[in-house]
Every structure is written in C-alpha cells, then in structure tokens.
C-alpha cells in the first residue's frame, strides 16, 4: 500500500479551493511525484456555511485551528490566509505544533519573514513559498536550486499581473487609467481596492523576496525605490510607441561593483524584446547568471490554478523532504551578514525618457538642455511636437528627450530645476529606459 502523508489547508479562498481540488481529484499525480498520497485531513475556515466551489469530504472542514495543531499526524500545512494578522499568529502556532508550512503570502514574508524563518529554524521546521512570487512560474525553485552554480548579476521582470493588464488595456485600447482599472476589476484581474498592485508595493515585496534568494541580500521591501502605474498618462504610452517602446512596470535588481541596485518603476522596454511582448495578466522574469547567461521565464502570474499548482508542488517537495534540505542549506532571512550591500539609488545609472510641457517661447529648449548638461546628462534624441489642440488650448508643445546613461540623483535634480523654469509646466514625466 502506498505511504500517506496527512496534510491540511488553512483558508479556503480561491487558491485554497484550487489546492483542495488538486489533492482530492488528482491524487495519482502527487502519488507519482511524491511516491505517496497527500491526504487532505483538515481544512480550517472562518465560516462553515460559506458556499465554496469545491466539495470536501465530511469532517474535513472545521473552524478550529487546534484540530490541525493538535493532530500530530498532520505533517504539512498550506497556510493560505492573506494579510498580516491573523496569518502571522497562525504561522507561528503551526510551526510550534511541529508542522512544515507552505504559503503564498508574500506580504507576510516581506514584513515578518525574518521572525518566521528564525522560528522555523529553531524548531527544525521549514517554510516553502514558491507561490508567493509570479504564480505559476516556478522562479523560487529556479533561483534557489536550478541556478545555484551562478552568481546572478541581474534579474528583472513583470511581477504584477494586475498592473500589466491595466497598462496593456491602456496601450491596446487607448483607455485612460481609470477606465482600464474598471475593466480589470470587471474581469477579476484587479481587486476592489487595487492600491497595493498599482502603486508598486506588491512588485516591490516580490522583488525583495527574489533579491534575497538571488543575491543573499536581506532587503526591506519598504525601502525599495518604487513608482507605480497609477499616475501613468496615455500620452506617454503613445510617445513610447512612436519611439519603438512599450511601457512595463518592471521590478529590477542589478549588481554593480558588488553593490545591489533595486527599483520598481514603469520602464520603456524595446518592442520585440521578450519583456515587451508580455501581455495581459502574464508575468515574466529574465535572470542573468555569470555561467548560464540569460534565462527567460514566462507564464501566468496569478489565478486559482496556476497558484495552486505552485502550492501543491511545494507540498510535494515538503512531504518528500526536498524543502527541508533547501531550507536548512539556504539560511534564508538569517542573521548572517548580507553578502551584498544595497547601492545608494541616487547613484544608480540608467537611461531616461523625459517629457516636458513647455510654452512655445524662444530659448526654452536651450534652457532645458543647459540644465541637463549642467547635471552631466547627455541627450540621445529630442523631439518637440505641438500638443493636440483637443488636449490643450494654450500655446504649448511637448518636449520629449531620451538621455544617455545618467544617475537617478542627477536626473531627479535636473527635472526639478527644469520644472521651476517659467516656461515649463509642472507636469514633467521621467521614466527609466531598459538598455
């Protein structure tokens, strides 16, 4: 008879239901890949009577967490409650009762990762979190296991499907930001309050996790410089397109001279390159290692089944013992010194797209370019174009400048000074351009 590992799920939302379906309907797969059955013993929910899209066997459903913590036969628990509390307290109770945990909760890891991982290590337990970043793309295992012979030198990707969907809508249908958000909400790609997705917080949290794995850098997600897509103007999508680019919300980690630069920002990406072609709610990640070169991953970044696929793979890895090995060797979020220092973002170098709205007076272009020059910013191209009278009745023109490499600090300072020129409106736009 096949060996059996008893497991539990905490939280029966979208992802929890998906995981339950895999365990209940597809036991042959877990048997084939784990050499044992993963037996769903308990599912803990807040409300027994809430309708669910998944039929559970009798006696599995409970509101009492102690039916899991006090059952020593349950070895692996998928903790699928979002947010910080009670998720944190439940994680600690599960660890203390001897469970190995699988979770999809990136916000919890970003904020309480050190505490939870320390506690798991003290207790000889493990936490697996493949589902916390990029849904169906198994990027956690790829970075921490498959590419382990490499020094990763850079990593960049589209980690927030909601933002990518909204920007794709704006680009393909010429919609403005608010209309695109409503469409995303209608189709289930954005939550009622999409703030964390569109302001870059979610991508920054995921980037913190990936940077931690790839560079051994213990990063506070709150400290990652970030700009969201919530201020994105359709005008810049059109300009970008004219210049041969698309705009994507990129999360980037890059090693320069043993310092790590991290940022999340809308970025101009050249049309035809893989990242530029990522549409809708998809995610994609490009990883460069010094041995392997560039490896590119593309897949569904969210959704019930892709995320459940990642959770169930983690449950299998945990049940067979692979997760325990990885968890013990990688020393994640440990008190060991970080191997990489974070760079000062003011000195981070990039190419920039700048758009200014200027009154059409003689000498304005000279004033603008003088300020750029005084901050060591050299210009790759300039386009000045009349503004569509439908958009402005005043005598104004758009001035779009693509720069060569310059530092964030200089670019920021130059744009501030340009904004103070009497002939320049205070609506300047500055975005990174991917090399």
């Amino acid at each position: 008879m096949m060996e059996k590992t008893k497991v539990a799920i905490i939280g029966m939302g979208t992802v929890g239901s998906g995981v339950a379906k895999i365990l209940l309907d597809h036991g042959d797969r877990t048997a084939r890949h784990a050499g044992r059955t993963l037996w769903l013993e308990k599912v803990v929910v807040r409300d027994l009577d809430k309708p669910r899209d998944c039929d559970l066997p009798a006696d599995v459903l409970t509101t009492d967490l102690s039916e899991v913590t006090e059952n020593d036969e349950i070895k692996v628990v998928a903790q699928l409650i979002g947010g910080l509390e009670p998720a944190r307290t439940i994680m600690l109770k599960l660890l203390e009762s001897g469970k190995d945990i699988v979770t999809a909760n990136k916000a919890l890891l970003a904020v309480h990762g050190p505490e939870l991982f320390d506690r798991a290590r003290e207790l000889g337990r493990s936490i697996a979190f493949e589902a916390s970043v990029a849904g169906g793309i198994p990027i956690i295992t790829n970075i921490s296991q498959c590419l382990s012979a490499n020094q990763i030198t850079s990593l960049g990707g589209i980690l927030n499907g909601t933002s990518n969907f909204i920007v794709s809508q704006m680009e393909e249908h010429g919609a403005d930001y608010q209309t695109a958000v409503k469409e995303a909400q209608r189709l289930g790609f954005a939550e009622a309050d999409p703030t964390m997705d569109v302001d870059g917080t979610d991508a920054a949290q995921k980037l913190a996790i990936l940077a931690h794995l790839a560079f051994g850098a213990r990063v506070d997600a709150d400290k990652i410089p970030k700009i969201g897509i919530d201020k994105l103007d359709p005008i810049d999508l059109r300009w970008a397109s004219d210049l041969g680019y698309r705009i994507k919300l990129l999360a980037v980690a890059q090693l320069h001279d043993e310092q790590l630069e991290l940022h999340v920002s809308p970025t101009l990406v050249k049309i035809g390159t893989p990242l530029a072609e990522v549409r809708g709610a998809n995610n994609a990640i490009s990883v460069v290692g010094d041995m392997v070169g560039r490896v590119f991953y593309h897949g569904l970044g969210a959704g019930q089944l892709p995320t459940a696929s990642a959770v169930a793979a983690d449950m299998i890895d945990t049940a067979v013992g692979r997760t325990g090995i990885t968890f013990r060797t990688l020393e994640l979020w440990s008190d060991k010194q970080p191997t990489v220092a974070l760079s000062d973002y003011a000195f981070a170098k990039g190419r920039f797209y700048l758009r200014f709205t200027v009154r059409d007076n003689p000498g304005v272009l000279a004033q603008v370019t003088n300020i750029l020059g005084s901050h060591d910013i050299s210009i790759a191209s300039v386009i000045q174009r009349e503004i569509d009278p439908a958009e402005s009745t005043e005598d104004k023109v758009s001035l779009v400048i693509m720069t060569h490499l310059a530092t964030e600090g200089n670019a920021n300072q130059a744009v501030s000074e340009i904004n103070q020129l009497p002939s320049v409106d205070d609506v300047s736009v500055r975005m990174r351009v991917l090399d």
Copy 2:
C-alpha cells in the same frame, strides 16, 4: 569548519573544464547553496599531457579510473564523457563503487537509460541529468519537480541549437543549407560531422527524455518520427516568411485522448510568437500543464558555461540529498507500465504547408485539389506563383497550399499521389504548421 563533500570529474573536455572552473574558482557559491564545500578530489582523463584551459591542483589529474572508484571519500562524480562506450561501462563501474552520478550524456541515457537507472536503483544510488537537455535551461527539474501538480498536456521546443543556428543563418542571410553549415562549423556551433544534430536525432533523444519525465512514457528515441533540417530549401523559408511564419526544428509531445503523439520536424511557427523569435543557438521550451497553463522557458542550449552550470547544480543537489529523493520517488525508466500509450503517427492531426512544383498546364490545380479532397484534406489557402526564371528555365509554377487539420497518414498518401501526376515534379515539400 564547513563540511566538505569530495567529488570527481570524468572527462576534461569543454564541459568538464567548465565544471572544474566553477568548483575551483567559485567555492563560495557551492558553499552558500549546499552548505558545504564541493572539493574536487580527482579528474580522470585519457591523456595527461593534453593542453587544457583550466589549471588543476597537483595530484588531481589521473588517467586511472580506479583512483575514483577505490576512493570511498569521493561521493559524487560528474561523468562527462560523450558517446556510448566507454561511457556506459564507466557509469556502471562508478555506480558499483557507490558513487552518485551526474551526467550530460543524453545519447547514453536515450539508449542505455533503462539499464543504468535499474542498476542505480538496485545499488541505492542516483543519476542526475539536467545538463542532458537544453543546456542552461533547467527543464528537467522544472518538469519533474516544479510542475509536479500538473498533468502536462503538451510540450514543444527548440532543443537543438545547431539546427536553429543553421536555419537562422539561412533565414537572415539567405544562405543555402551547405553555406550555413560551414558558417556554423566556423563559429563552433556545429561539429565536423553535424549529422546527429541536423537530421533530428539529437532533438529526438532529448524529446524522449522529456516525454519520459512529463508523461511517464518510456519512449525509444529511435521510434520517434523525425525529419531534420538537412533537406531544407531556402525557397520554403521565403514562402514561410511571405505567409507570416518562420521555420523551426520543433520537437513536440502532445497528449490526445490519453495517447501521446511525438515528433521532430521542421515546422512553420507564426512570427511574433515566442518560439518563432528564438534565434541563433538558443533553445526554448513551451510546456502546458492543466493547472499552471503555459510556461515558457528560453536560454542558451549549449556551450561550456551554461552546460557546466547545469552539471554543477546537479552536483549540489546530489551532495545535499535532493537528487536522491527525486530519483527514488520518480522511478525513471523503471519496469512499471508506462502510463501513456504512444499514438499511431498516421492518425496524428496537424495543419500542413504543402509546396508542389507543377507544369503550368490547364487543370493541374483541379487535379491536386481533387486528390487532397479525396483524402479528407481541406484547404485553408492556395497561392500559385511563377517560379523565378533564375531558378528554372522550364514553364513551371510553385503551388503552395496551407491545409486545415488533417492526419499525417492522409497528408502523406495525398502527397504521394500528387507526385505521380504527370504535371507534377517529384520535389514536393510537406511541413507541419504550429497551431
């Protein structure tokens, strides 16, 4: 003090030298990812005096395999000799002396996989083979571990970088096949005898390994229907381009009604889709799972350091114990019944690109389309075009037909009959079109 696992390398060719460099120059990485040092104790070569691009410590180099097999402190061995013998005998000796093995030799696995895996199981040892397919893309671990909650429903990819390089050369520079092969040889992308690469054998061997992992189907690589690129005519690349396609040597595995279809063939792939944009010696694989949806991987398919990256990751996985777990649970090449039957290729359905060279007589088109119709092949589009007088002085035209779905058997039979028409030259071309 950090724990130490002693390892050895058999064969100091391109890949072996790359692995030695990683172990000798980058011990910090293996320490970080394995929690221990991988200590290169011995390197076995045929000729001590051959110049190598890697400095080895004294006493490491030997021609005597018994210095490895009789040293019980050596636990993990990278067996990097190509071909079938003596590679097979060395593998068996290593297993019998208690070593866990890492290899990049796909031909050996394709032919002797069952024997070697049975022997490893009997002896409680493991064989890791990430480097045997797609070089730097960690597709073995992704399929056998990361996507383990899925029933994979299809898998397709560009698995032979040499062929892709040659076809890219023909496409981008209008070169004919022989010129492109010479260029590939000059740049090191093709061997002096490139037969196994260009006739589809290498891709079929890799496909057999992937199909085995993804579908539990024990496949004889020799039985996979295959067409190489060695007969590819630049005319068809131009036609494909006119129709909005590129031609790629695709290896495809597809599940239909619980039967598995496998084939390797030059295939028309729509421009703009990820597989069509894979250039030069790159590899790419698209995997569809019923939970995760489509996941796409792109990276360097060969070369010293990408392949060494895969070998070194396997050595780390083996040293820490993950490989042993995977090897025991997956039961690869075991005598258990295959879970999937191979379909009869004659019934495999696909869309086809057909090109006929016909004398410009009245009624030819009717004769051709009648034969297609009599074999249940319906036509999606037809283009008839005069042949460039530079290419033919006779009064001939090219007739290119794109079909709707038809079976391989019917398409094959129809083309044979059309070739026997008095007005048709016997140089017809038939290629699959990716849906």
